[in-house]
Amino acid sequence: MEPFTTLNSVAAPLPVADIDTDILFPARFLLITGKDGLGRYAFHDWRFDAEGRELDFVLSRAPWDRARILVTGANFGCGSSREHAPWALHALGIRCVIAPSFGEIFQGNCFKNGMLPITLGSEPHKRLLAEAEAGRALTVDLPAGAIRLADGAAIGFDVPPRQRDSLVNGWDEIDLIRARHADAIRAFQLHQQAVQPWLWTADTQEPNHG
């Protein structure tokens, strides 16, 4: 995974609550089976009209067309589990989303893709929104747990230590689990086979390809 340490960028203001995953990545584009070229589908129906003409949307306007940070409303990314939503935002250049709260699955998906979702209380969120609207750059410093404003002020934020360490180091979760927990997994499974054997009866059968 691509490591995340510090990020300096203007922040795009999008102060709308409950932006759902169908807005972030409309379902009709989910037939794609890869991860490449998804940027054009991010916020698709808010960015383009039915004929594909560009609409007036914050991420299409300077200076925010270069924004790598998004400051948005509460419950951002609610709805579906589709990881296409963070993949598409990432492809658009967004690496950090700042909101009062997030849809949980989306938030988890961000961490898995080198993106930082920051949850902030009402007052600091308002302040950052004003900075974003003014087109001033922010510096997000993950190791320090702080967002620095153009005037030198800093706003602290919390990220669960496990997610922070993974992001800062760019750790791959599957590799990490295999390296650190293989014995514990085996021990758990042997125990479960003994006490709940009914969960293991299919393991010895040939797969069924209806």
Binding site: D20, A27, N75, S81, D175, W198
Partner: protein, 465 residues
């Protein structure tokens, strides 16, 4: 000296404790994942990821593959017309075959929506952890399984390792008291709950539904209730297994048999919240005076009783929603003309849902100009409905009777609504563009959707007689 009495635990805590492989930090642990459902949309990149690492699937028997989101609901004897959908479904079948994972193909009678088929086949069992790259995995919590939706990276992690790092949720009890009135069901309960607590009201919490109204519900109704937990922000909805649960599970193809059954059933009966166990939050809800619910906006929490008026907009979201839906504050939804009706989805496509809709439709006709669709949740439900003659009730009335799939809930196949079309839908999301770009969705129960179909407008099913 007596051993210290174990502290009372909630059902969620029992399921959590039973699956901890290793603690990770103060509030998270590596959880063993007993079962994973794989569908064609969220898993291709997961298979690609583990193959890119040169890894095999750790435990093929822990997975079950199906195609449901992208599949057509007509002409199933022919190749899928849309080349992208055809390729996606074919890739899923190949991925499952290559890794020795059970796969139910489109011509298998058992095929259907993952959240319908899992319980039907006994793949879903009480006491297990179950995941799927789909947020409505909360459905399976109706069996007392710790079930939650995950992203594609997590699907890959479960395929490769059989475990997932998870943060422990806070617990929330939803106490459902009283008895539901005629014409009011589980869909109305969950829509009312979401309207009350909000689309992120239960974020960070695992909900346990309890109380007399839950005890009286069938498994089908309980699945409807748990299914939409994510629409209140919670990844997990739970109901403790009871006699109703065991009666549903017993005899299913993958359910334990013989001595295993006896042993499993004894364990499952221990899976309830202990007396004295504390929840972080409790919501109490008397359902006895609940009216049928309908959503007016583009978020599942924008719902009202059929006899209420649309509230005045309080937020940007409300104003945008009214604008998108072509409605005004103060307006009553009853009487609003509709263009389309969809009866289906992992929320409401089970046999009971079809029976409830058919009971309203019987002897009536779909109103002129209304496009009405019934999509059973699985091939087995379709067959059962046909044995009961429900298909004839629908087709005689002018409904289109289809093959199983997600269909117009997510509009990834060719069932899609035109911009501006207003739909009475039994599905779970009324998001902008969900049933087609610009389409307008009103969520409601199967009985209410059936009533809308035969009158051509949103109507209180209780007034139809």
């Amino acid at each position: 000296m007596d051993a210290p009495k174990p502290a009372p635990r909630t059902l969620y805590e029992k399921l959590w404790d039973a699956h901890v492989v290793a603690p990770l930090d103060a509030d998270s642990a590596l959880l063993h994942i007993d079962r994973q459902l794989l569908h064609e949309v969220s898993s291709p990149q997961a298979f690609a990821e583990i193959e890119g690492k040169g890894l095999a699937v750790a435990r093929p028997a822990a997975h079950l593959g199906l195609a449901d989101h992208a599949v057509p609901t007509r002409n199933r004897d022919r190749p899928i017309a849309d080349p992208k959908a055809r390729a996606q479904v074919a890739l899923h079948a190949e991925n499952c075959a290559r890794h020795g994972i059970d796969y139910l193909s489109l011509d298998d009678a058992r095929q259907g929506i993952v959240h319908i088929v899992g319980p039907e086949q006994g793949f879903t069992l009480p006491g297990i952890t179950l995941v799927c790259g789909d947020s409505h995995t909360a459905t399976h919590g109706a069996f007392g399984a710790l079930a939650f939706g995950i992203g594609t990276s997590e699907c890959a992690c479960v395929l490769a390792t059989g475990v997932l790092p998870q943060r422990k949720a806070r617990t929330m009890a939803v106490e459902l008291r009283g008895r539901l009135g005629d014409g009011v069901g589980a869909k109305d309960v969950i829509l009312a709950l979401i309207a009350r607590i909000g689309a992120s009201g239960a974020a960070g919490h695992a909900i346990e539904y309890r109380g007399a109204a839950v005890a009286a519900m069938s498994m089908e109704a309980r699945m409807t209730l748990c299914n939409m937990s994510i629409e209140a922000g919670s990844r997990t909805g739970l109901i403790a297994p009871d006699a109703t649960t065991l009666a549903y599970v017993e005899g299913r193809p993958r359910a334990p048999k013989g001595a295993d059954w006896t042993r499993a059933a004894a364990y499952w009966r221990t899976l309830s919240t202990d007396a004295g166990a504390a929840f972080d939050r409790v919501e109490t809800f008397d359902v006895s005076r609940l009216a049928p619910m309908v959503t007016w906006g583009t978020s599942p929490d924008q719902g009202i009783a059929i006899d209420a008026g649309i509230p005045a907009p309080a937020t940007v979201k409300d104003r945008q929603a009214l604008d998108y839906m072509g409605l005004t504050a103060g307006q009553r939804l009853a009487g609003t003309p509709i263009d389309a009706v969809f009866i289906g989805s992992c929320t409401n496509s089970r046999i009971e849902d079809l029976r409830a809709a058919a009971a309203v439709v019987r002897g009536r006709r779909v109103a002129a100009g209304v496009q009405a669709l019934v999509v059973p949740g699985s091939g087995l439900i379709k067959r059962q409905a046909e044995e009961e003659g429900l298909d004839r009730v629908f087709t005689d009335a002018g409904f289109s009777w289809r093959d199983a799939g997600c269909s117009l809930c997510v509009a990834m196949n060719d069932d899609r609504l035109a911009s501006g079309t207003r739909c009475a839908s039994t599905s779970n999301r009324n998001f902008e563009g969900r049933q087609g770009a610009g389409a307008r969705t009103h969520l409601m129960s199967p009985a209410m959707a059936a009533a809308a179909a035969v009158t051509g407008r949103i109507v209180d099913v209780r007034t139809l007689g």
